[in-house]
């Protein structure tokens, strides 16, 4: 089936099995490896992308869901000004450890920063509650997002 969508701000079209997982479409058909597979059941957040203006786990979406929609992957977020701000903050605090969950955290944090951005720890924790990290203990992730929120607020970015 032919599916048209906007991927990282670019119109794309692909002939694909409509039931193919969106995650596999991104990785196999578009070579976007920033979305990782950690569980395949929507429970870990490694494959988080922005779909239709909201963060979702792409492993439990199908190609058909993308039809006529807009998708932003970690690669796309990294090109956005707020994505760049977040990357700087994650880097500055040495928050990243193994890093395989971080593209997912980047996407969820980006959505928070974009739609709310209030530097409030509890709100950040809720916004990130679908993304699992086993290395960091989350503390430096929270610190990074707080820092990005503060910088956004004070107009540094």
């Amino acid at each position: 089936m032919k599916i048209n969508f906007i991927l990282n701000k670019e119109a794309v079209s692909i002939d694909v099995d409509p039931m193919k997982r969106l995650l596999d479409v991104l990785r196999e058909d578009f070579g976007l490896m920033g979305s990782k597979e950690g569980c395949g059941e929507g429970e870990c957040g490694l494959c988080t992308v922005i779909y239709d203006n909201k963060p979702v786990t792409s492993c439990i979406l199908n190609a058909i869901h993308a039809d006529n929609k807009e998708i932003l992957t970690a690669e796309g977020v990294a090109e956005e000004p707020l994505g760049k701000l977040l990357i700087e903050c994650f880097d500055e605090t040495n928050a990243v450890q193994c890093g395989i969950c971080f593209p997912g955290f980047l996407v969820s944090s980006y959505h928070y920063l974009l739609t709310d951005g209030e530097p409030v720890l509890e709100k950040i924790k809720t916004a990130l509650s679908g993304n699992i990290c086993r290395c960091t203990g989350y503390k430096k992730i929270f610190e990074s997002v707080l820092l990005a929120c503060q910088r956004k607020k004070s107009g540094e970015a």
Binding site: L61, H65, G130
Partner: protein, 278 residues
């Protein structure tokens, strides 16, 4: 796996009427894709409905709120209408999975999945939610409480679909509202116990009460006998021996991977006690 993408609601029912045997509706996909991965769905036909926008949305019609079956948890969480009329329901939505799943999962899908642990069913039950069930030529409205008939058994014919959920705008008004989900952590967890309640008391006497439990039976259900017993009782002199005796007939907690029946029982009693006394 045969795949259908209906062009409209009538087209959907045309397709549905032609399919014999098992089929799956694909809305947000949060459940179906897990079942496909686990090989629980093999070659059964899948009908995509997520694009049928006539099944989506939150509307105010006279004294009712009507929620299209495709409406996502996130839509409900962000809805001004829900915030205005059903704030308790809105707060209850936070218990569901994680923001990433809230964005995709639909309310209709959550109900039709029929999981005994479904997070939102107990609050919807105490709100006396009704289901608008659609088929090609008919529409019927049934109370949610009459939808479940056993473990994953529904009051739903093969050519029917839950079209919308209907809740009275007054459903919460004047009630003390209560909802607790007990899981092994705060997010992304399957409920060991889900308990919802609405209570109206005057001068220390219970005037009206609605209680519902999830994860404690084969499907989420109202605790009707307990409700009947409690109406007219004085809050300060509740007899918990009686309450436990009735409750025993209403719930059948089990031991499984996630918890034990003894624990489920006692915590249900504790939570009920806290809710009833406060």
């Amino acid at each position: 796996m045969k795949f259908y993408k209906p062009t409209s609601l009538p087209d959907l029912f045309r397709i549905v009427n032609d399919i014999e045997g098992k089929k799956y509706y694909l809305a947000g996909g949060t459940d179906i894709n897990v079942q496909i991965k686990k090989d629980m769905i093999k070659d059964e036909p899948v009908i995509f409905i997520n694009h049928l926008n006539e099944l989506r949305g939150i509307f105010e019609v006279e004294d009712k709120i009507i929620i299209g079956c495709l409406t996502s948890f996130k839509d409900l969480l962000e809805s001004i209408l829900i915030k205005k009329h059903l704030p308790y329901l809105q707060k209850s939505l936070n218990a569901f999975a994680s923001p990433l799943l809230q964005a995709m999962a639909s309310l209709g899908g959550n109900l039709a999945n029929g999981s005994p642990t479904a997070d939102l069913t107990p609050p919807l039950l105490v709100l006396d939610a009704k289901l608008k069930i659609l088929s090609r030529s008919k529409m019927r409205i049934i109370p949610l409480a009459e939808f479940y008939r056993g473990y994953k058994q529904f009051n739903l014919k093969h050519n029917e679909l839950i079209g919308a959920i209907i809740i009275s705008k007054q459903a919460e008004a004047g009630y003390d509202c209560f909802h607790r989900k007990i899981g092994s952590r705060k997010a992304l967890t399957i409920a060991k116990i889900g308990l919802a309640g609405l209570k109206k008391a005057e001068n220390g006497i219970i005037k009206d009460i609605k209680l519902a439990a999830g994860s404690l039976n084969e499907y989420p259900r109202r605790l009707i006998k307990l409700e009947e017993y409690l109406v007219g009782k004085s809050i300060d002199s509740l007899n918990f021996t009686d309450i436990e005796e009735i409750l025993q007939k209403e719930i059948t907690p089990i031991s499984d991977l996630r918890s034990d029946k003894e624990y489920r029982w006692q915590v249900t009693v504790n939570l009920l006690e806290t809710f009833l006394k406060n």
